[in-house]
Amino acid sequence: MSTRALEIVATWVLAILWVSPLVYAVWTAFHPSAYATHFSLLAPWTLANFAHAWEAAPFARYFLNTTLLVGVVLVAQFALCTPAAFAFARMTFRGRDTVFALVLLQLMVAPDVLLVANYRTMARLGVVDTIFSIALPYLGSAFGIFLLRQTFRQVPQELDDAARLEGSSLLGRLWRVYVPLARPTYLAYGLVAVSYHWNNFLWPLVITNSVTTRPLTVGLSVFASTDQGIDWSIITAATLMTSGPLLLAFLLFQRQFVASFMRAGIR
């Protein structure tokens, strides 16, 4: 068998492995519980599972919490990473390279390592069990700074010179030249950030303990825990519901996302 054929087979196997949980979830969610482990082409379709799931737990509130969380994190990250990245890319000041190395060092620290330390900090600040406390450790992002710095460095110096000569201030140049030219990077990075924080589980689980602050992931895990009884049809319906918006966005904007990723250099 040629390498090419082997590659095709491997691709199919991996693709099927990857998509099978999703396929199972779709199957189970749209059929009555009786068919959860019983496949039949004649099985009746239903939306009842979604209705049950929606009523069984405050998903609307969880949706709101997650949206708030993701929105706050995204806005703060853009607002904080942009000036930092610009300073690292285009300004000269003492200790710039050392500070940048420290920022890069932060990339190597897995966030989960800091779980306890972060909890203590939040407790001292008195903000435990708020949406703000979920977001706070993530408001600055080393990855975002690094990515934007690389993008800003690729902006031709002559464009900066031209804007300077035309009378643009430092902030004017950042806003009118650098940020618009880095749009693909913002899009790609925004996507990574949104999906990461939409799916983040461990830290929100630790820091929240009420309905008004829990994001979708934690809400779903509470909903699916054993003491509520396990009904796969309802659990998969809830899962599809919570991951639905993200999935839909990916499918709709697939082409732009891939293009942005290629241009931003994230693969």
């Binding site: 031709p156 002559e158 010179d161 031209a162 804007a163 300077r164 000569l165 009378g167 009118r176 030219l181």
Partner: protein, 339 residues
């Protein structure tokens, strides 16, 4: 799409004066004390080979680069410490530096917006620039959709709307093909004449300098070799380098028996005669109106520009002759001209 004939100047230029400008990066000296004056409304070309400091010089005038020593004056005002935007200069960059995310119209008025010029005034200036350059059809396009020549026009448009008394250009034609370059050369010159602005134009191409300039400043290794009108630069080069840099083909420089100085003869002053220096033909290049004959003159290559078609086989012995009064003489050690 061509620029209209010179009318009376609409705005006025300002004189530019550099006094002992120095620039060094660590121990590397880019400019070692450059001083010159460009009168208001003059087309001045900074000419020189790459690395001679001409672009550095321009960037220092613009304020994009800081000199390590010396003074820059524009219109009699010391601008050495002023930021670029307050110096009253416009600039056209080698890459055109058009903002790829803005339309042509937005690119042209970018600076006016940054300076909060009222919308009505912006519109008036844009209209005037567009009319001068003939780019009304391109206003809504993005720079990426334009050809090199069109991008060049947009860059010129941005310089025009600034209505600055001094315009700086950094090798603006180097990215265009030969035909377009010749056209744009005429247009830029006509534009400068029409607007009456002072132009500082950087190039390494001596034909551009000869064809456009009122004043040529020839730089080499961060120093001025010669500051003169093109005709004087050609007729009386001040140094051996100036003699060899200007002219196509460049001046022949060789030593003659019994002469301590290096002598120079322009190829067009050479002729084949019955008497003269014995040489042998290396190659004859026929160019249509004339023929460039390369000869071996006692181990030195010597070029002669002869009218019409000259058919001579390689190796043919010839006698190279010239009038004594066309001879240029340079000091063998310092390279300076001997009168």
């Amino acid at each position: 799409m061509s620029i209209q004939h010179p009318l009376s100047p609409i705005q006025t230029g300002a004189a530019v004066r550099l006094v002992d400008i120095r620039r060094a990066w660590g121990s590397a000296v880019a400019l070692g004390g450059v001083s010159f004056t460009v009168a208001a409304g003059t087309f001045c070309v900074l000419l020189g080979p790459s690395g001679c400091g001409k672009t550095t010089c321009l960037r220092i005038v613009a304020g994009l680069d800081q000199a390590t020593g010396g003074r820059v004056e524009i219109g009699g005002r010391d601008v050495t410490a002023l930021p670029p935007a307050e110096r009253g200069v416009a600039m056209v960059f080698q890459s055109y530096a058009l903002f790829p995310h803005l339309s042509v119209a937005e690119n042209i008025v970018f600076g006016l917006k940054a300076r909060s010029v009222p919308a009505a005034e912006r519109g008036r200036r844009l209209e005037r620039a567009v009319e001068i350059l003939g780019i009304s059809a391109l206003l809504q396009r993005r720079p990426g959709q334009l050809s090199g020549g069109q991008q060049q026009r947009v860059a010129l448009g941005r310089a025009i709307v600034a209505e600055a008394p001094v315009c700086l250009m950094d090798e603006p034609l180097s990215n265009l093909d030969a035909q377009l370059r010749a056209d744009m050369r005429r247009e830029i010159l006509a534009l400068q004449r029409r607007l009456g602005i002072t132009m500082l134009y950087v190039t390494h191409d001596q034909t551009e300098a000869m064809g456009m300039a009122d004043q040529v400043i020839l730089l080499r290794g961060g120093r001025i070799e010669q500051d003169a009108a093109p005709a004087d630069l050609y007729a009386t080069p001040a140094t051996r380098f100036a003699a060899s840099f200007v002219g196509t083909p460049p001046m022949n420089l060789f030593s003659l028996p019994g002469e301590t100085a290096v002598v120079g003869v322009r190829p067009e002053d050479m002729r084949l005669g019955d008497a003269g220096l014995p040489a042998s033909v290396i190659h004859a290049e026929y160019l249509g109106a004339d023929t460039i004959l390369s000869c071996d003159l006692a181990g030195q290559t010597c070029l002669a520009r002869l009218p019409g078609r000259v058919r001579l086989e390689a190796g043919t012995p010839v006698l190279l002759d010239f009038d004594r009064n066309t001879l240029h003489r340079f000091d063998a050690d310092t390279g300076t001209r001997l009168s």
